[in-house]
Amino acid sequence: MRKILTVLSVILLMTTNVFAGTIDVIKHSRAGGLNDRMNEVIANALGEQFGEFITVENCAQAKKVLKATKNDTVTAWPTEREYGKQPCNLNDKYLISTFSNSPYHITYLAGNDQAADLNFLKTSKDITVGVWDSAFWSAPQTAFLQALNPNIKVVRYKSKPFRTALPSGEIQYKIVSFPGNDPVIAVLGENNYNAITGEELLPGHPFANMGYSFLLAGNVKFDVAKIYESDAWANKKDTTHTPWMSDLSRRQQLRAIKIMLIQIGNSAKK
């Protein structure tokens, strides 16, 4: 009986410590970018439980911090970093769960009546679409777009020139996870824009449902629902990011991610 009580006390003490302790959040990407914003959301969602930001230069350093730190630490981790063999691959034990996902939106410049016509996207012979400069994501995006219209040229943009690419007229559409104020013509997933979905455009295409996603990484057991239930999550800027695979167990989530990454990664190899 005494043993049972001792064990129960230790468990209680440990659990209490976990909840009383603070959690640090690692920032590992450009200030003001999507990844940075997501880590801000996590920190704000933690409320009084938030410890401090650990700002590092890159994902490799973030990985080192996760391995070395004795403090409880979490961070939003772009899913594509877990594909193949990369310097930023994390050991599965640091992947707490899936976190958020936003479908890719195809947008155009407000006032461009030609681009507002879906037929133009599907049939025009001279059409250029801008995508984010990512070797990993641009491959499936290109595959989808060219299946929709083989004449589409896909151009990769870094953040600054991407902002003026539509107004300059050198592209007619761009694919983004968060459309901001630009009108949306199609979305590769469910959406609140009443826009046509990828599945409706190209039924059965492997990349008809596709979005930019994050995992929650860290060295602590943490229930991601705490973030979803917070005001910080409800008020976040990136409104198209929603909870991702939260109804699956961690094991199922990791399996689903691996399958998704292999499928997308294979498209990049083609």
């Binding site: 450009r30 200030a31 003001g32 970018g33 940075d36 914003r37 801000e40 650990i54 700002t55 590092v56 230069e57 890159n58 994902c59 490799a60 350093q61 080192k64 911090v65 772009p78 970093r81 193949g84 990369q86 310097p87 930023c88 250029t128 400069d133 990512s134 070797a135 990993f136 040229k153 896909v154 151009v155 990769r156 943009y157 870094k158 600054k160 020139p161 902002r163 003026t164 107004p167 300059s168 007229g169 050198e170 901001g180 104020n181 008020n235 976040k236 800027k237």
Partner: protein, 442 residues
């Protein structure tokens, strides 16, 4: 009350950002982030505009007096200004660059007020092709006007370009010149490059050519007034450079850092063509400094009127406004514009006066052997390098990289390493633009 406090803190922040190399606007904004989150939205913009405008005046002074460019955009100021300083014309260099900067700020305000209705049409021509032409032109002129022969300058530019590509690119999913070392995954830090391959050769070359005591007569308000009167001679330079700086400020991907370089190389090219250029040229100094300051104001316009943040600092501001569900629309920005404009002009005036006070304080160094001053500068730079890196848990890494590059800098002390530095800075946007053009047109 909050606005007054924010304004004062903005000025102090700009002062620190200007004096300490590597402490730029983003660092200050990141440090101030938690406080900014609680401020009235107009005050966030006022803080930024005040800090940025004061920063520019101090950056220029540090580059001229100590030969240390606070940021990459001050490299031309250092090339021309520090030479003038070593020739005993430091006071004139500071006053001309300060008055030129101030007039350029006013010029930028006027340009923006006049150009507001046409803003979108400017973005309408800002294609990858135009960006490539501008970048390419700057590079070609830079190579032609360098003190080295063309072959050496081209080689240095290419070496800088290769160094600029070092690092692990998540976009490409591949590493280049990282040798599997974690410290190189983020690429070579700009401050390590600036210290080892630009400041060291310049200070060493400067010291070996002319030794003796540090001598700086200081500046006076009469001097400022006389400089203003003499400024008429530089009107064409001032207008041309302010225009380039103004355009650079509100174009994403160009930035006023690049337009400052463009204004400088164009001016230097004109002076070389006229066969009147000699390092330590007032026209060139005024060109880069005025382009710089004009851009500081115009860079706010895309954020204020179009909701397009074009610098990392502005992206932070934009995020704060949106995170707090504050209106990021033309109506709100239009209502804040006059207030922002007022604080920009006031902070520029204060920056001008404070910079004069700051340089006069430096007279305490007069009489000190220049070698001690340079050693002191190097010591401060190394501490700054370490501290900047340490903010990202990489202080030692940045120091090691700088120390590895230092022997190269020493070996290059007879050369003009500007092409190398700009190869480092411009290779990425240049290659990026060319890749896009290839896809779009071929």
């Amino acid at each position: 009350m909050e606005t007054a406090l924010v304004f004062i803190i903005g000025i102090v922040s700009g002062l620190f950002a200007g004096i300490l190399p590597g402490i730029g606007g983003v660092v200050i904004m990141t440090i101030a982030f938690p406080v900014l989150m609680t401020l009235d939205p107009v005050n966030i913009i006022i803080f930024y505009v005040t800090m940025a405008s004061v920063d520019q005046f101090f950056n220029g002074v540090t580059a001229i007096v100590f030969g240390v460019p606070g940021a990459s955009m001050n490299i031309p100021t250092q090339i021309e200004g520090h030479k003038l300083f070593r020739e005993g014309k430091g006071s004139d260099a500071i006053m001309f660059s300060a008055i030129g900067s101030y007039l350029a700020s006013i010029f930028a305000v006027i340009v923006i007020v006049l150009a507001l209705p046409m803003l979108w049409s400017i973005y309408g021509i800002w294609t990858s092709t135009l960006q490539s032409i501008l970048l390419g032109t700057a590079v070609v002129i830079l190579i032609f006007v360098s003190r080295n022969n063309i072959l050496i300058s081209t080689l240095l530019f290419l070496v800088g370009g290769i160094l600029g590509q070092a690092g692990y690119s998540e976009e490409r999913g591949s590493s280049f010149l990282t040798f599997d070392l974690d410290m190189l995954y983020s690429g070579i830090p700009i401050l390590s490059i600036l210290v080892s391959l630009f400041v060291i050769p310049v200070l060493l070359g400067s010291y070996l050519k002319r030794q003796g005591a540090f001598n700086f007569p200081g500046v006076t308000f009469d001097g400022y007034w006389n400089t203003l009167k003499k400024m008429k001679k530089y009107t064409v330079t001032l207008v041309r450079s302010s225009m380039l700086g103004s355009i650079g400020g509100f174009v994403p991907g160009m930035s006023f850092g690049f337009s400052s370089l463009l204004a400088y190389v164009v001016e230097r090219w004109i002076r070389v063509k006229k066969k009147v250029y000699k390092q330590g040229d007032f026209h060139c100094l005024i060109a880069c400094e005025s382009a710089n300051n004009a851009g500081v104001f115009t860079q706010l316009v895309p954020l204020l009127f179009l909701g397009i943040p074009i610098t990392a600092s502005e992206a932070l501001i934009y995020n704060i406004l949106e995170a707090r569900n504050l209106p990021v629309d033309v109506e709100w920005f239009t209502s804040t514009f006059k207030q922002v404009l007022f604080y920009f002009v006031v902070s520029s005036t204060i920056g001008l006066i404070l910079a004069a006070k700051y340089v006069n304080f430096l007279k305490v160094l007069n009489g000190l052997n220049i070698s001690w001053v340079y050693m002191g500068i190097m010591a401060i730079l190394m501490i700054t390098l370490w501290q900047n890196g340490e903010a990202h848990y990489a202080g030692m890494n940045h120091m090691i990289i700088a120390l590895c590059l230092a022997p190269v800098g020493i070996a290059l002390y007879r050369s003009d390493t500007t092409p190398l530095i700009f190869g480092f800075l411009l290779s990425e946007p240049l290659l990026d633009n060319l890749k896009r053009i290839l896809v779009i047109y071929f």
